[in-house]
C-alpha cells in the first residue's frame, strides 16, 4: 500500500529536505513505522505514549488522510489504501 506523505518544513531534516516521501502500510501506524525505517527519528516527532502507555498522535501534530483529520478516522488505526495521500502539519498554536 504505497502512499504519499507530505512532510512539513520542520520535519524535513529527517527526509533529506524532501517535501514528500512515499511509505507503505495498511494503517497509519504501519505507514509511520515505515517512515521511521527510512527516516529514523521521525516517529518520535509524530507520536507519543499517553498516560496509559498507548501510543497515539502527538496533541499538536495534525495528520490528514485524503484531507480528513485522522482523529476522526480512528487515529493511528486509520486504514490506508494504495494511492492515498497523507499530510502532516504541525498545529499553529500557542498561548
Amino acid at each position: 500500500m504505497a502512499v504519499e506523505v507530505r512532510i512539513p518544513t520542520i520535519l524535513r531534516t529527517y527526509t533529506g529536505e524532501q517535501k514528500a516521501v512515499t511509505a507503505d502500510g495498511a494503517t497509519l501506524a504501519a505507514v509511520i513505522d515505515d517512515l521511521e525505517a527510512h527516516h529514523p527519528g521521525i516517529k518520535d516527532r509524530l507520536t507519543e505514549a499517553g498516560p496509559d502507555n498507548q501510543v497515539g498522535l502527538r496533541r499538536f501534530v495534525n495528520v490528514y488522510l485524503n484531507d480528513e483529520d485522522v482523529r476522526f478516522l480512528g487515529g493511528l488505526a486509520a486504514e490506508v489504501t494504495d494511492g492515498d495521500q497523507v499530510v502532516v502539519l504541525p498545529a499553529v498554536a500557542g498561548g
Partner: protein
Amino acid sequence: MLTIDQTTYDAIIAHAKKDHPDEACGIVAGPEGSDRPERLVEMVNAAGSPTFYEFDSTELLALYKDMWARDEEPVVVYHSHTATEAYPSRTDIGLASEPQAHYVLVSTREHGNNEGPVEFRSFRIVDGQVSEEDVVVVPQLA
C-alpha cells in the same frame, strides 16, 4: 528584520483589537523564500480563549493547501496576547514550528478593543531559541 507594509500592519492590529479579550491569530503568506509578507489571512482562534490560540485543524489544512497551490509559505505567523506583554510565552516557544517565519506578537493589554497604541513585536523562534528583531513598516513593499 521584518519589513511589513502599513496596510497589513494596521490590519493585524485591527484584528487583535476586534477579538480582544480573546487571542487573535493568523498568518501573512508570501512567495516561498521571498521573505515578503504579501497576503494576510485572518484565522479563527478555535480555542476561543484569552490565554491560548489554535488554528482549527480543517482550516489549517485548507490554508496550507492554498499556500502550496500558490507556491507560498507563511512569512509571518501572528497572534495577540491580551493581558501580557508582546513576547512569546513558553507555550509559544514550545509549539513554534515554522523556523523561517517571523513570529509577530501584538499585545492589546493596554487599550483592549479601543483606540490607542499597541505593542507590535517580531521574533524568530528556532529550536526553542527566541531572538527579537526590528520591525520596519513601509508604505508599500518594494
